[in-house]
């Protein structure tokens, strides 16, 4: 299952709830304000180890946090996002 999170973990509960409920072998893609969950040294950094986490590169760049991304979080572009959606067995948005 691919999980999509689009909100900041500091503002809304979607990232926390997603990481709590996602299977350990699932992938979580951070888009829009969700990319802030990938910040190195933040209060939620510990959650990043609960599943495979990637972040959308264009949303990371827009927010100026390319140099602040935690180790282990890979960046993907929209083509990579599409591949993640079509790979695996389903997709769920944590809107």
């Amino acid at each position: 299952m691919l999980h999509i999170v689009n909100k900041s973990p500091f503002e809304k509960d979607s990232f926390t709830s997603c990481m709590h409920h996602a299977a350990a072998d699932s992938t979580v893609i951070l888009i829009e304000d969700g990319v802030y969950a990938a910040l190195k040294g933040s209060a939620v950094e510990g959650d990043l180890s609960k599943a495979k986490v990637v972040a959308l590169s264009s949303d990371v760049a827009a927010r100026g946090i390319e140099g602040n991304i935690a180790d282990g979080v890979d960046l993907v572009d929209y083509a990579g996002f599409v591949d993640l959606v079509t790979d695996g067995n389903g997709v769920q948005s944590w809107v």
Binding site: M1, S17, V91
Partner: protein, 136 residues
């Protein structure tokens, strides 16, 4: 594709009234019930508030759509899952929820509860076992 039965999961994570998602999600569920699919509803996080009993919108001027949840059983929507952790965090128990029921045609139309209280692990399995996840 005709004849294929998919596992639909409606994930309801938002409170009613403050935003329209709960109401318009329910409209999707009712329309969707006309399609021959396997439908499950999950109420988690603030979504558990959608089926809180005793909703009364008179003084607010809002439309009270909570009675419609009672009709779900008639639409053969009777697999309703509620997160135990979400209830706990909000100081609620199943007694705070509307007693949503259906009549079981395989059991002489006995009235049964549609609600099942589930753990985080069971929610994970529900999600992983779904073909289509509609999130509201």
């Amino acid at each position: 594709m005709a004849g294929e039965i998919k596992q639909f999961l409606y994930v309801n994570r938002k409170a009613p009234y403050g935003t329209v998602y709960a109401l318009e999600s329910l409209e999707v569920v009712l329309i969707g019930a006309a399609f021959d699919q396997d439908v499950r509803l999950l109420f988690m996080d603030d979504g558990v508030f959608q089926i809180k009993k005793d909703q009364n919108t008179e003084a607010s001027g809002l439309k009270n759509f909570s009675p419609t949840y009672n009709a779900l059983g008639d639409y053969d929507v009777n697999k309703i899952y509620v997160s135990k952790e979400s209830l706990d965090e909000r100081g609620l128990t199943q007694d705070d929820l509307m007693p949503l029921v259906y009549e079981d045609e395989d059991d002489d139309w006995a009235e049964k509860s549609s609600i099942k209280i589930v753990s985080a692990d069971e929610i994970r399995d529900l999600m992983e076992g779904s073909d289509v996840v509609l999130s509201f």
